[in-house]
């Protein structure tokens, strides 16, 4: 409530971007965004900031506890866990962002068609219902066992089950916007369909879509970990958080840090993306602003 009052009190000032004000009014999404930014930065910079080669084995130093030369300790092959977690972030973030982008774009295109053309709607939505009925993990396992394991197959396998959610969301927005009087008015001045879409209908879908994309990103990062943990995800030669946890679980009683640190990284990543998404949802749709 206070957020609404405050927003209406300073209608023009809010146009300029002021970080201090943002932090004050929406602290959680800013914290989430900063955390996510740090994780992305550290993953991008992994080759330069990692102290060791993430796949170089050093059997003498196997299962070393955290500290000294190895900040997070070492795994069963004596590989530096800190370097592996940093590099593992590259895979998780790559998959999270790619899946979010791919499922959003594909879902947007299908959803717009379903929302605007009634005949297509009937067909598309039945297909989407069918897709939604298949558990995502099972679909991914099936796809992975049919093809040779690679990062791109993982991306495809995670993207497909996410598409129906985006389609439903976009379709719902298009269905409600197309009934607005200004759509009829735009048609009455002779606006063509593509222009009508681009100018009058698509912009309305962006706010919920951005929010949905963050949730998909978080869920994709998690799914990648499940799949890797089950051994059907990222190929084992590439360190990913799921892979590291999967290998570390064998030694959990000897070296708990093998699953602790990648677990923390995974949790932080998912948490920051979700918090950012929640914050964006509140910021982009004032009607949903939570009462604090």
């Amino acid at each position: 409530m206070s957020a609404i009052l405050e927003a209406s009190a300073v209608p023009t000032a809010s146009r300029r971007f002021r970080p201090g004000r943002m932090l004050q009014r929406h602290p959680f999404p800013v914290v989430g965004g900063v955390l996510l930014g740090l994780l992305v930065l550290s993953a991008l910079a992994a080759p330069w900031i990692a102290p060791h080669d993430p796949i170089e084995m050093n059997i003498i130093d196997r299962l070393q506890p955290p500290g000294g030369d190895y900040l997070f300790g070492t795994d069963a092959y004596g590989r530096d866990l800190f370097s592996r977690v940093l590099h593992g972030g590259r895979v998780s973030i790559l998959i999270g962002f790619t899946v979010a982008a791919a499922s959003t774009v594909i879902g947007l295109l299908i959803g717009v068609v379903a929302g605007y053309f009634r005949l297509a709607d009937a067909i598309i939505m039945r297909v989407m219902d069918g897709l939604m009925a298949i558990p995502g993990i099972l679909l991914a396992i099936a796809l992975m066992s049919l093809t040779r394991a690679s990062l791109w197959v993982v991306v495809v396998a995670i993207t497909i089950p996410e598409i129906p959610r985006v389609v439903r969301l976009v379709r719902a927005v298009v269905l409600s916007v197309r009934e607005q009087a200004y759509i009829q008015a735009a048609t009455a001045i002779g606006t063509r369909f593509p222009r009508l879409m681009r100018l009058h209908i698509l912009p309305s879908t962006f706010a919920p879509l951005i929010v949905q994309a963050t949730y998909i990103c978080a869920s994709a990062v998690l799914t990648e970990s499940y799949l890797s943990f089950l051994g059907v995800g990222t190929p084992p030669e590439i360190p990913s958080w799921g892979n590291i946890i999967a290998e570390g679980r064998l030694y959990v009683q000897l070296a708990f840090w093998n699953i602790l640190f990648p677990g923390i990284a995974l949790a932080l990543m998912v948490l920051s993306v979700n918090v950012l998404g929640d914050g964006l949802r509140d910021a982009l749709d004032p009607r949903l602003a939570r009462r604090l």
Binding site: R118, Q180, A181, Y182, Q184, A185, A186, T187, A188, I189, G190, T191, R192, R195, L199, H200, P203, S204
Partner: protein, 344 residues
């Protein structure tokens, strides 16, 4: 400020030239059961510079007539089942969809009833007016924006340079309706459809908007079809009046003739239901309402659709639909009893 010649007149049109010749329009909706006929065998003409008012209660097919002329009847379900609409030597109802898009906003433009919702809330008004020009004329965006500014001046928008960059929510209802008019007239249409353009506005703003439409019509010579249920607006604006009831034309006459000597009992009912200032028993008399409601489109009675609400209805009325007859020169009416004196 001089608004004269702020916008150029409609090109290549002679005074009194026929702009629209609509014949036998039938618009129907299909659903379960028999089709609902929203507009039934409607014919009329509009000339250059002329204002035709279409009056009637809600649900009489007034708005559907306008939407039919733009071929924007809601689908699925609605369709134009019969009729021809000649404009500029072409029949609107046989044009292809791309040709029809050129007509919408180009030759025929429409002002909608709700200025609050007929503008896209996330685009500036300058952008929205320029958009109309962009769609119809192959000119650079800067020219479109100049035209938008000129149109805002033409519709007497205060501070047009500033308003150009504002959003609909920053404008009042009257200003928004001015924007709608600016959009409609941006491409100098030959025919302007105004569907209850003042219904959503308060009375003083109504008068301003009507004045504006009339002034712009004088400047450009656009033919106007004004849809309303306000007989005060009719008296103010119309050259000719067409009274619709249950999708049919029941009376048509020049405005003075219609007000002086209405022939159809429905028209008389509408006039009796209008409040007058002064006059006998002013302020005390209860207005005479027309009893009952317009029959449902799916449940049209045999015979005259008004019979159930008409004080003069006879067996003849309930048996057959009266034909449209020219009782006096230029005065058409569809009523079995129109030859009788109203007080009989």
């Amino acid at each position: 400020m001089s608004t004269a010649r702020a916008i150029a007149p409609v090109s290549s049109a002679m005074p009194g030239e026929m702009v629209l010749d609509l014949r036998g329009l039938r618009t129907e909706f299909r659903g379960e059961g028999p089709p609902a006929v929203a507009v039934n065998d409607l014919s009329f003409t509009v000339r250059h510079g002329e204002t035709l008012c279409i009056v009637g209660e809600s649900g009489c097919g007034k708005s559907m007539t306008a939407l039919s002329l733009l071929r924007l009847v809601p689908r699925p379900g609605g369709r134009i089942a019969a009729g021809t609409a000649m404009i500029g030597g072409r029949d609107l109802f046989t044009l292809s969809e791309p040709e029809m898009r050129a007509v919408r906003g180009g030759e025929i433009a429409m002002i909608f009833q709700e200025p609050m919702t007929s503008l896209n809330p996330v685009l500036t008004i300058g952008r929205q007016i320029a958009e109309t020009v962009m769609v119809h004329e192959n000119v650079p965006w800067s020219v479109c924006m100049e035209r938008a500014l000129a149109m805002l001046r033409a519709v007497r928008m205060p501070e047009p340079e500033r308003r150009l960059h504002e959003y609909p929510h920053q404008l009042s209802g009257g200003m928004r309706q001015r924007v709608m008019i600016a959009m409609a007239l941006a491409c100098r249409p030959r025919l302007l459809l105004a569907d209850e353009p003042t219904t959503a506005l308060d009375v003083t703003i109504q008068a301003q908007i009507l004045d504006l439409i009339r002034d712009l019509q004088e400047q450009t010579g656009t033919a106007v079809i004004l849809i309303t249920h306000d007989l005060g607006v009719v008296a103010e604006m119309a050259d000719r009046v067409l009274v619709m009831y249950a999708g049919r034309k029941v009376e048509e006459a020049v405005v003075d003739e219609l007000f002086d000597a209405p022939l159809h009992p429905y028209t008389r009912g509408l006039m009796a239901a209008m409040p007058h200032l002064g006059g006998v028993g002013a302020g005390r008399m209860r207005l005479a309402e027309i009893p009952g409601v317009v029959p449902a489109l799916t449940d049209m009675p045999e015979g005259c659709p008004f019979a159930a609400r008409c004080g003069r209805a006879s067996a003849e009325c309930r048996a057959a639909m009266p034909p449209l007859e020219e009782r006096r020169p230029g005065h058409l009416v569809a009523c079995w009893h129109s030859g009788e004196s109203p007080d009989a």
